[in-house]
Assembly symmetry: C2
């Protein structure tokens, strides 16, 4: 078993992960469900979410074709880098305005646009293609769980269809195993049969915090015994997995590696919650992974 995580350095963190893998035979096969957050857990989320880079690229294309879009308050704030205006408008309203750029699009066309973006995009500071900012140690953990007949799922705050467009290539995860923020579709009967197009309405809540627990049940239908995350938005999901009967594991990635990736300041601290998420994790008995100390390698090969 000790050779399944070659990019994890020997020590108590790797030992704890291996102990869970060794306990897998004690878990009923039907209960072997693993839920991974995506941004900051499977791939890099700094300095910007990958999805935001995609949306800004799409906005630039739309603005070039329809300059009047620059006047829309949400887009004016974004394009002008006007942080105060963005805060006043709120992230939810800006996100929905960006989502509106794809109103009426078919799912397959949206997916093709996402894949086209990822094929060419580079990370702004890490000097590697965006598609290679996936964490090698986490791919090894995904593979080890899969070898033990776990169903591996991605439970993301990002757009479900955005991540689905990439999850097969990046993680070998099929679309039904991606649980994220869901856009509703509109059905119409066309001349050649049904036509499904993207709406601008959400189905359920944005997939963060308690909503992750709710959507794991509604979309996957069972409680996970493994979860991995990295921010306060993963807290409830980590608690849900960690509290399952029998062997369970909650893994929290601590971004403490400014040399190879990023160091997050005040991770998870909000005005309502004076405890950081790493402090919560240590207190709750989760496995807190130090990116700097526990990982020999951070990213997949840059030519991958």
């Amino acid at each position: 078993m000790s050779d399944v995580l070659p990019s994890w350095r020997p020590g108590p963190t790797r030992d704890a992960v291996l102990a869970f893998l060794e306990a897998a035979p004690d878990i009923a096969p039907q209960d072997r469900l693993a839920c991974f957050d995506n941004d900051g857990t499977l791939w890099c989320e700094k300095p910007n979410y990958v999805q935001l880079e995609f949306l800004l690229r799409a906005l630039a294309t739309h603005v070039a074709a329809e300059p009047h879009l620059k006047e829309k308050p949400e887009f004016a704030a974004l394009l002008g880098g006007d942080t105060a205006a963005m805060q006043e408008l709120g992230l939810a309203r800006i996100a929905m305005a960006l989502t509106g750029l794809f109103d009426g699009m078919r799912a397959e066309d949206f997916g093709a646009q996402v894949r086209d973006f990822m094929a060419g995009a580079s990370h702004p500071t890490l000097d590697r293609p965006l598609r290679t900012t996936v964490y090698q140690p986490m791919l090894e953990l995904v593979a080890a769980l899969r070898a033990l007949d776990f169903t591996v799922t991605v439970v993301t705050g990002g757009g479900t269809e955005f991540v689905r467009a990439l999850s097969h290539d990046l993680y070998d995860v099929p679309p039904e195993h991606v649980v994220g923020t869901l856009i509703e579709y509109d059905y119409a009967k066309g001349a050649d049969g049904p036509v499904l197009t993207r709406s601008t309405r959400l189905l359920g809540d944005p997939n963060e915090g308690p909503a992750k627990v709710v959507h794991i049940q509604t979309q996957l239908g069972r409680r996970p015994v493994f979860a991995a995350g990295n921010t306060g938005g993963d807290r409830e999901m980590l608690e849900w997995a960690h509290g399952a009967a029998g062997p369970s594991l909650a893994v929290l990635i601590d971004h403490d590696d400014p040399d190879r990736e990023f160091r997050y300041e005040g991770q998870g601290v909000t005005t309502a919650d004076v405890e950081s998420i790493t402090e919560v994790g240590r207190r709750e008995g989760w496995i807190v992974v130090s990116m700097a100390k526990d990982w020999e390698t951070v990213f997949v090969p840059a030519d991958g």
Copy 2:
């Protein structure tokens, strides 16, 4: 290939199904998604939906403990067999009233109740346990598709959690591959961590007709190339699968076997749609399966 469907009689129907199976290598592995309706397609739905039998049993238990429930108009109509009152109230309102019997219940407790019911229930006229009113030929088709790396899913008008509680035992289908009518959950933080309980609210629309196509996309994330159904509520799903690019198959079960199962009268005919669903299927080029002529065996073994 011809030995994979032993309960299907030789003839044009079986030949058409086999031709699709033989074409599977021409379908990209990621596109191999098969969607089966449940009631009347995978198991018997007459004289009553299995889920209705379960709900009536639950209602009897609740009424015994709380007799005042008999006064509730939806329950009074049901218990009295008052068809006129039921029609006036409407199926949706009655269904939601019955769903309310499980308000506040945890998912695992609901699932246990469903399995407990199925373990002991018998079909009212077929003289066999309810759990053995599954169609043997359809199980063989499920197995044949799976052997070709299809992801096999159940897309049901019934309650998602009701079918999920049984889908592993009956069809070897995991819960995330069941798409049905979804009840929302309420999240609460308890002393021992998150607690999820059933609400009485639906997430999305009841899973019939166009909603099946929408929910296949939102929950499974891709277009099927195979679908099987048996009523007008499956029409859009069958059209969606049949219209996929490349090899595709739409299978419609025609209940024309009063000796071994049931003969449906005027199947799929509504006031808005003078064409029956079998007529639609023949016109559209779907494979219409005659239960009486095409199946050598109808049900799984009664001791199964």
